[in-house]
């Protein structure tokens, strides 16, 4: 299918990318943050392929996290925050799954998780921080020692030591993360594999550089020369990218700056059905399992709704969008 010679072994469909790079039990880092730039097309495909026992490593994840948990794909989560902002202060299926003991959770903070990805990206075993001293984030482990050993995790969550150089007091040492795969959605990928994210990158770039494999969906594939003409804007060089899937609206119902806003009606409806197990099962059937791919999903969202979400070219979001 490739008309891009430099991408010949990287360009693939959603289905192929997920079957090649997301195995059962894999440790997965999701790009984006709450309701922005979640790799939703990949996440729906993971659900359709019925992947199981995934280990998610998250700072603040929202819709992608909740869909994977709700579809029964997740076994354990290291996480700072599971929420969708005003659209679900706590993600509903995440909340239910934790309360029912269907997933095992270990808590961190956003900075702690971002630093753990940075440590992975730097190829160092741990990273220090002052954040979290004397809190239960430091005192309490979500994973028991036996659970850690059984799942190939470091024997303890973290360590606290005194400043070894001066009298700077205690610091928390956090182990590095090196996920099996980082999934991300970008606005542009060059036809050489260069990745450009517009707007906030959150911890996507640290996650990608820490991971053993990187799968990128994108709104557009553009000539490399275009991205190289303003290389300051680029996020990742081609040699970190293992798979590229061109997928318009690949982050819907979350936002993608300069392309589309989040979909308030879809997110509100999702929250409503997520509260009821039976209604949610029906929703998954209708919106995920019963559809062949992301283009069928977008057809179901409808052209009119997608047009309402279209971003203003200057501001990057849909000005005056009905967000109630």
């Amino acid at each position: 299918m490739s008309t891009y010679p430099a991408l010949h072994d990287k360009l693939m469909t959603l289905s192929e990318a997920v079957s090649r790079f997301v195995g059962n039990g894999a440790q997965v880092a999701l790009g984006g943050f709450t309701i922005n730039r979640n790799p939703m097309a990949l996440v729906y495909e993971i659900a359709r392929q019925k992947k199981r026992d995934l280990h998610l490593v998250c700072h603040s994840n929202g819709q992608a996290l909740d869909l994977l948990v709700g579809a029964g794909c997740v076994g354990r989560i290291e996480i700072a925050y599971g929420g969708n902002g005003r659209f679900a202060p706590t993600c509903v299926r995440f909340r239910k799954a934790v309360e029912r003991g269907e997933v095992v959770v270990e808590d961190y903070s956003n900075y702690q998780m971002a630093l753990r990805f940075l440590a992975g990206a730097l190829s160092v075993p741990f990273v220090p921080t002052k954040s979290g001293l004397h809190t239960d984030l430091v005192r309490r482990s979500g994973f028991s020692e036996q659970y850690r050993a059984a799942h190939g995790l470091p024997p303890k969550k973290l360590a606290v030591i005194a400043d070894p150089f001066d009298d700077g007091g205690d610091v928390v040492l956090l182990p590095a993360l090196t996920p099996d795969v980082a999934l991300m959605h970008a606005q542009y990928v060059g036809d050489d594999g260069t990745v450009r994210i517009k707007g906030l990158t959150f911890a996507d770039l640290e996650q990608a550089k820490a991971a053993k494999a990187v799968v990128v969906t994108c709104e557009q594939i553009v000539p490399a020369a275009e991205l190289r003409a303003d290389a300051d804007q680029n996020g990742l060089p081609p040699f970190f990218v293992d798979a590229v899937v061109p997928q318009k609206h690949g982050a819907h119902p979350t936002a993608c700056r300069f392309f589309y806003d989040y979909d308030p009606q879809h997110l509100n409806e999702y929250k409503r059905v997520a509260r009821d197990d039976q209604a949610y099962g029906g929703w998954l059937e209708q919106w995920v399992f019963g559809l062949g791919d992301h283009d069928e999903y977008l057809a179901k969202v409808g052209r009119e709704q997608l047009a309402r979400l279209a971003a203003d070219p200057v501001r990057g979001y849909a000005v005056g969008l009905d967000r109630r």
Partner: protein
């Protein structure tokens, strides 16, 4: 004096803690209203920024999450998460964070993780997000709470974010260079912390709210000897809040 809602009073009361030049870690919800009011009324040089990395956005429209694309427009820089927290911790800056929580204790420690046993919670919340980081690293933080006995508790079910820890100088001895809770702004009152013991006390009750009502809704003993009535929002403050800060009433409701 006009009528006003508890949420409007909270936004104005919290905004009064902001000084010109402060760097504000805003979050969403009422915090954003407080920051918006302060900037337009008495602290035009304050800077609003988001943990996601959006620094000083124009905020023509209210963001509904800290990752909303609206925090990325008109900014001086779009940074990353790690950079945003490095700004919060910078000793060169006076940074104030606004935080919410499910539970708070008398030393301003916060729980936003769960109710019940951590391993088998009866209620699970979103988790720390950046709250623990901001509480650990910022120069000070202000808490927004709905007032109630199940929220103002003797002992937290889970300590997500560090306040004055066990009071006195325990925070400094734990290894934090600075910070700690400055005030708690609720739908009934404003609470502050004793200068040396660091115990919470009632500082201001809102017009029409009795001290007894506040005490009855607080799950630990509260010193009320210093309580005064809060200055109600002025007509001009309310006009700015309603017409300029949240004209769509996305947060005011």
């Amino acid at each position: 004096m006009s009528d006003f809602t508890a949420r409007e009073m909270m936004a104005i009361a919290a905004g009064r803690f902001i000084s010109d030049g402060d760097i504000l870690f805003a979050g969403t919800g009422v915090a954003l209203l407080a920051a918006g009011c302060a900037k337009r009324i008495h602290a035009p040089g304050a800077t609003v920024f988001f943990e996601t990395g959006g620094i000083d956005p124009s905020l023509e429209e209210i963001p509904l999450a800290v990752a909303d694309t609206r925090v990325m427009y008109g900014t001086c820089i779009n940074a990353g998460i790690i950079e945003a927290f490095s700004y919060i911790a910078s000793p060169r800056l006076h940074t104030i964070a606004f935080l919410g929580a499910a539970q708070i204790d008398k030393y301003g420690n916060l729980n936003s993780t769960c109710i019940g046993e951590y391993e088998h919670p009866t209620v699970r919340f979103s988790g720390s997000g950046g709250a623990c980081d901001a509480a650990s690293l910022a120069s000070a933080y202000i808490v927004f709470m709905e007032h109630g006995r199940r929220k103002f508790v003797e002992k937290l079910d889970y300590v997500t974010s560090p306040g004055w820890l066990e009071g006195g100088d325990t925070r400094r001895r734990a290894g934090f260079a600075r910070g700690g809770p400055l005030a708690v702004v609720t739908d009934l009152c404003v609470l502050k912390f004793h200068e040396t013991t660091k115990e919470m006390y009632l500082a201001e009750r809102y017009p029409g709210v009795s001290v007894e009502h506040i005490v009855a809704n607080t799950g630990f003993a509260l010193d009320v000897s210093r309580a005064v009535e809060a200055v109600p929002p002025s007509d001009e403050e309310l006009r700015i809040l309603r017409e300029e800060v949240d004209p769509q009433r996305l947060i005011l409701g």
